[in-house]
Symmetry: C2
Subunit: 324 residues, 2 copies
Amino acid sequence: MESPAALKALFETRLAEIREQDDWSRSLYRPMAYILNLGGKRVRPLLLLLSYQSLSGKSAKTALNAAAGVELFHNFTLIHDDIMDRAPVRRGKATVHEKWNEDTAILAGDAMFSIAVDLMVRDFPEFAAPLIREFMRVSVGVCEGQMEDMDMANAPGASINEYIEMIRKKTAMLIGGSMSLGAIAAGSDQETVAAMYEYGEAIGIGFQLQDDFLDVYAKEEKFGKQVAGDILENKKTFLLIRAMEKADASQSERLKSLLFEEEDPGLKIAGVMAIYEELGIPKETRSHIDAYFSKAERMGAVLAQHPGFAQIDAFLKALMQRDY
Amino acid sequence: MESPAALKALFETRLAEIREQDDWSRSLYRPMAYILNLGGKRVRPLLLLLSYQSLSGKSAKTALNAAAGVELFHNFTLIHDDIMDRAPVRRGKATVHEKWNEDTAILAGDAMFSIAVDLMVRDFPEFAAPLIREFMRVSVGVCEGQMEDMDMANAPGASINEYIEMIRKKTAMLIGGSMSLGAIAAGSDQETVAAMYEYGEAIGIGFQLQDDFLDVYAKEEKFGKQVAGDILENKKTFLLIRAMEKADASQSERLKSLLFEEEDPGLKIAGVMAIYEELGIPKETRSHIDAYFSKAERMGAVLAQHPGFAQIDAFLKALMQRDY
């Protein structure tokens, strides 16, 4: 059984082989190599590999192509989402549609999706049908989540339930899917596959809510980006949506004035944070995060019988920055 | 064994069921229903169904979802290509990105692709691996073809070999793929699958060259669109690329002057057609078309042993408007 660090090294080697194929020098492939080269924690392929080796008892090497499948899929969604979000920068570098153009970004994304689907079944022909059905269930969900995110940005009010459903689809389904796809490739029964999915999905929602929380309440040096950027951008996060739901008429007026009229960044952040405190938003957010992580722990208890599951749990706990 | 007309009726019914699912009322799905509603000859799903019933000896009803898979895939490529081509109209109606917007068109296309892949394996779990590998081989090829088409539009010179390779990928691979996917679902051996693919691909290339030819030389009332629109748009077709290759210095000067300076449409068309005649372009194009249709006929002879193959051949011959 390989450690997450050893798996990451194996995975980066496989990914480099894919990127360095002769074909990939052509114009359609250069944007794919470029975005895969931007790096990242590779959380999704590692989860697939950890899930596979825990449940199959076999070497995770067999699952490297399937792991590349989820990573290429994830990067395809990033290329297309960056177009829709008009994002100029990702990981400190120009996004694909900025470096090339939108047409190339659309097309390279489509081709990358196709290669991802092919990689998923390459080494598991006997499980191709359930792998594809689960992969496409997740893929459709991710598209629905992105659509709901765009619809929500343009709609006046959004409920907290709509928000959680949106992040469940847009972010958490692929975390859950990485776990369940590893389990399907390992030949697990449906109950185990479903438990792995639920475990990953709950952690995925918890992670996203934690991102929302830490953007405002993390120490800057720890979190590595500007604190409260979400407040400055009026981004619809768990905190802001819940605050708008709970605010009385006077708090609602103050909030709107801060969001749309306050020009001093320091005053805007301090003002919004004061309202969050009045409404008990930080405490409520923490308790939501804990609820999702606790749900994952309950699912984890069911899965703990599998050798190597403790490793998955430890890997994910290391990603949960609980020090708030 | 069902006739093409009977299969088309069955297919439209299945497609209507897919379009009318409850889920499809949501914002992500409305563009999919819209483009599928624009109609069309449904050549690709019919080829899949005809190939399947010929080779399996079973009812084509089993393959209706797989047939919907190639049709949804084709329509996904139309949605994305229309964005890249800045096309405002398709089949007399607004394109998806015109009716909604580019973001919705990108995302609805992505989701439609995902559903297409799912539909392909739904009723053939035992052949899921070869179906997916063939489907994604075709999908990557179609993306490469579209990229080569865009690269070619921006590059000064293109060779006739590059042009044929581009239309092979962009158009003919999915015609061939519809045949081979039907054969794989029927459980055929690799030789039969390959022969079906080659047969369809050759016909696909022939069809595209025929389109180029008929745009200039068809009688308007027969072809149903403006004659010589390709000449007016300076579109790089087999005829124009070959003329530019064969032209001597003086013909090349005349051709460029007609393409980039002549403002009278009638004079432009007559002038370009005169150069085509001088260079023997119509004859050369016809002989290329015949070569591809003859290649298809040779492959067809190998496949003629299968009951129902004559039906496929007749269906395709009806689509070949040979009356030039």
